[in-house]
Symmetry: none
Amino acid sequence: MLTIKRLDIEDARVLIAGARAKAEEIGVPMCIAITDEAGNLVAFERMDGGKVTSTTIAIDKSFTASGAKKATHLYGETSQPGAPTYGIESAIGGRLMVVGGGLPVVADGDVVGGIGISSGTPAQDMEVAQAGIDAFAATL
Amino acid sequence: MLTIKRLDIEDARVLIAGARAKAEEIGVPMCIAITDEAGNLVAFERMDGGKVTSTTIAIDKSFTASGAKKATHLYGETSQPGAPTYGIESAIGGRLMVVGGGLPVVADGDVVGGIGISSGTPAQDMEVAQAGIDAFAATL
Amino acid sequence: MLTIKRLDIEDARVLIAGARAKAEEIGVPMCIAITDEAGNLVAFERMDGGKVTSTTIAIDKSFTASGAKKATHLYGETSQPGAPTYGIESAIGGRLMVVGGGLPVVADGDVVGGIGISSGTPAQDMEVAQAGIDAFAATL
Amino acid sequence: MLTIKRLDIEDARVLIAGARAKAEEIGVPMCIAITDEAGNLVAFERMDGGKVTSTTIAIDKSFTASGAKKATHLYGETSQPGAPTYGIESAIGGRLMVVGGGLPVVADGDVVGGIGISSGTPAQDMEVAQAGIDAFAATL
């Protein structure tokens, strides 16, 4: 039998609040998605002005980061032409995201969920995702 | 050019809070989804213990209620065998929900979004959706 | 070798104009889709106020009517519990529509396309689809 | 509550007419799709001879341009190997288009919709999309 650690809805709100604060600071309205360690959606907010297309993209970045226990930008590096995971971005009906902005959420060495950000540049998305992680880490 | 009214993220949080309070009162952890008037997701929360399958179902109930400007349980009535919209439940890749728990969000006579609830019985889902609507209506 | 008769874009516009005139007459803004005899979309209009969910539904009604050479409401009859095509409404990823509002477009005994209407009641959708057909028939 | 500006069906017809005139001028029959600012289809025409595969591609180019508020060819630039959004073309079930021919439709600084063109070379598709935009801009 396994015992799984998983973020709860309060943790998800902390992650969203941290991300949103950074998004407001840099002036880019974002889509913010939180998934649990099983890859299933726990919470989501599209800030006013966040992109419609980013709704799905944020959810899928978080799905990828939590389900694969790997930041999406690291998939981006290993998915370049000639690199080992080349072509993986169309896997799972296109849900496997290799663009930066998805980070696993870790507690005590275990992946307990994921955060996915979309609407800015990948660099902005990554910065906002990290701000969510930082806010969560401060509660541990 | 058209001018459209659409709920914002603050409205979505009010809808979620109203629904969550009712869900806690009746003791059923719910998935709560809010879409805008175009059917796109604005906010979502899966309460601790909410069903994994209900994640998509709540989102699609809200999508249906806002996109069709119609409560999902009304589709349930008109989709019975022999009734006019029989068979519509598999439309749009199965996103067209005819199970109760999706309600349009109305302001000044315009549909400005939708709320979709799932994890309880349809009657419980409808009660929780209505509580979200009531909380929102109190702010108008 | 086959020689196929297929409606052209001018025919599609006639069909849409006829349907739109009836929709305006009955005061129900509609989604209007025209497909060719191969089931592929030729033209589409969502009247101001037409339902978002009806976008896909109108296209799929027309797809069904042209591809199966059969009015969608006839599928509705044969898809009731115990009837021969029971359950067919979820075929083709849910694109096979059994709700009224899709009609084949016939010229000289050949199906040359389809028209699909959605946003009203099925009876209204069927009336508006027929008005499109009538406008087209008047040009033959 | 938000107040949104959205193109209406008359605007969509102007966009299509402008695009079609350019397509006829250069002798390339095109698929022409217009979406609203939420990414939902408003109008579509496949000119006689337009490609079947381009039906979906034109719709998805317009979806991308309106939903992401960004021309699809700009995504093409930032999605090359080694560039920031590499791999994004398979997002949203492949609906995120990075091939030229999708442009946001802007009025008074707001994105009010999108236009998507497909059947020619990307350069031809972009030229035809711009002609639609120009025809619309002349009405403002």
